[in-house]
Symmetry: C2
Subunit: 403 residues, 2 copies
């Protein structure tokens, strides 16, 4: 939870009058202790389950100002602020969460939890299997976006939040937002789906699969049983490199790296890292393996692959018929992993169900990663949308079937 007096511990997060939430701590919530283990979509049961989470701001007496932010593949609970005074970097969406920022922590109570299956404090394949006393590895059950969201529902119950003012997420976070809006319609006043889709495309599945193959081909992977030994770092780094290409746009890669060689002394005529774009990807891959578990990468990408609201309800319109939230759908012009046409499919299905829906395709050259980068239109659109919903909720005029 954020400290009571937010302190500014870095200039990185300053925007106008906006400030950092200051020092924050990750907390944990455990539930589903056997025999009350959680039932998973795959048919297996899992318990106990722990979620790591952070909160910022204060829940109002009316409990009508809670916002849930859900993260993408490699994210964690640490959205905003700093973990220590000498923490070099703030949370992953510090741009958006803090006093005076779009998710204004002077007005809203913001929650973010690390997903089920993750490796940042929540139960996942690197957690200890209580029945063996050893890390789960590939014995961990395959979890789905639905399982992740059902775990988040338990956390909301724990925090006393009956109905969320807003659920917001980008990429796989956007899938979780859709799952919330479709499966828990009474508990979501507004949903913000950024750079996401109601089902992963065949191309998306293909990229996920080559990443998984890279991990599973690493001899250190050992069928997932590598904990306490050498890790499949080369395979995970390669998976991350593949992923990173899909997060950037062709035009951004051209602008950022072009065809420049490191050192700039002409071709080396060998197979060492040479072009700046290679060096960048290698750095991204190498730094990722220091902060992420290879098995979690397998499980999380598989959850994305399985996500398909249309299949579950016969059609996209059939699924989104259940939504009672006001919806904001955002895409980015240069995002080719979750292109605008997929957002538009969603918007058409929402509108066919008369769900109040706002859609913008935001101009950006930064590809899929644009949702994580400074973007005034993104920030101001989210600020305005959530502010309006908040006003309506407080006036008792919000749509939807709240309690």
């Amino acid at each position: 939870m954020a400290t009571e007096e937010p302190i500014d511990v870095g200039s990185a997060s300053r925007q106008g009058g906006a400030r950092s939430v200051g020092l924050v701590e990750t907390q944990t919530f455990s539930f589903a202790e056997p025999p009350d283990a959680m039932e998973l979509e795959c048919g297996r049961r899992l318990g106990p389950v722990t979620l790591a989470y952070e909160t910022y701001g204060r829940l109002s007496a009316a409990r009508d100002n809670a916002v849930l932010i859900v993260h993408a593949l490699s994210g964690d609970a640490h959205v905003a602020g700093y973990h220590s005074p000498d923490d070099p970097k703030p949370g992953w969406w510090d741009l958006m969460v803090g006093p005076g920022k779009p998710y204004d922590t002077d007005r809203y109570f913001v929650v973010c939890s690390n997903i089920l299956g993750g490796c940042k404090g929540s139960t996942g394949p690197s957690s200890v299997n209580p029945s063996t006393g050893r890390p789960w590895g590939l014995e961990f059950p395959v979890v789905t976006i639905g399982d992740m969201v059902r775990a988040q529902v338990r956390l909301m119950d724990h925090l006393g939040i009956e109905r969320l003012l807003s659920v917001c997420g980008g990429s796989m976070g956007g899938m979780q937002v859709l799952e919330w809006a479709v499966e828990f319609p009474e508990r979501v006043a507004s949903a913000i789906v950024i750079a996401a889709s109601a089902r992963l495309s065949a191309q998306g599945i293909a990229f996920d699969e080559v990443g998984r193959q890279a991990i599973m081909a690493d001899p250190n992977w050992m069928g997932g049983d590598y904990y306490g030994k050498a890790t499949p770092a080369a395979g995970l780094a390669l998976a991350r490199m593949i992923g990173h290409i899909t997060y950037l746009s062709d035009e951004q890669m051209h602008a950022k790296f072009g065809r420049r060689l490191r050192g700039g002394e002409g071709p080396a005529y060998d197979f060492r890292t040479e072009f700046e774009v290679e060096s960048y990807l290698k750095y991204q891959g190498d730094s990722f393996v220091r902060r992420f578990d290879a098995n979690s990468y397998l499980y999380i990408t598989k959850a994305m692959d399985y996500f398909d609201l249309a299949e579950r309800y016969g059609s996209l319109a059939g699924a989104l018929e259940r939504v009672r939230a006001d919806c904001l759908v955002l895409s980015f012009t240069s995002d080719w992993l979750f292109p605008t046409y997929q957002s538009k499919e969603m918007v058409r299905a929402l509108k066919a169900n008369a769900v109040p829906t706002t859609f913008f395709e935001i101009p950006s050259g930064y590809g899929h990663d644009a949702f994580l980068l400074p973007n005034e239109q993104l920030a101001e659109t989210v600020r305005g949308f959530v502010g309006n919903v908040h006003r309506h909720v407080r006036e008792g005029g919000a749509k939807g079937g709240g309690p």
Copy 2:
């Protein structure tokens, strides 16, 4: 060379009155015997050099009907026809080469050679290093598109072809066409550049690099010294899977595989191959390793990465100023590996130099691979363009600085 009486050994290649070239044989040509070794762009010398090649049709007495077709990353000299009566598949561009086909072997003498650095009969890293008696492996010098083309020039000299009626290629083949047109302007009457670019983009380099990393991370790769032992099949298969995603379009993947599961019995909730798109990629990867050498994959992708006409001459217009050929530039609407904007850059630079240039963006949903697939506009455009150039050359009216 094609047999004198072309026989039709399969219905696959029938189109209207067009026929197969019939049974063909791959031949070899060796040159650069030391001390006359070939000087390479990297500064090293290589010799002897062997090129595998095939020819179809007959060279006219005036030697004015020779066409060179150059292949892409994984191609070979076998463009058309069959190697035996029970050969299940014709050459890789049988659609385009044969009696009555766009490259009509009743009119043209068609040549195709496997590239230097390849593994289909030409000298490459899997060839024996004469100074050690063992396969070169990574001791093989890094070759460039320029080196490949200079080797082809030697083959043309050997075949008695002073000036080519047409040089044509797609993808990396298109890069070789550009190299021919820029570096040997007097020897090329017309150039056809399909789905290619005058320099590989940063995104293209990035995809090549992750493919190479996949190979080099395979423990069987052994620094390239794996000949006669277990090969880095898993790494090469993964590289091919990554490549294949870039050869197909998002829309084609959706149409061909969608989100269908093999067997169609619902999710397996494990990490085995499950989606049809995964199965397709796995098949492509596994079949590739049976016909391709991993080190050649490294060398050929590196040659693509280094290709940059603009850098060599200060600007693209500066490079293309040298061209004396009539040019035909073709791109495909759904090709995102070599997108149309790159072809247009080339066309603008050609037109700035008053080079007679025809450009079409051909509608196709098949992505980069479209150039290898049946496409009437592609076939008829090439047929018409080459026919016109042939007529002009025979009438002595062709542009350019012939012999």
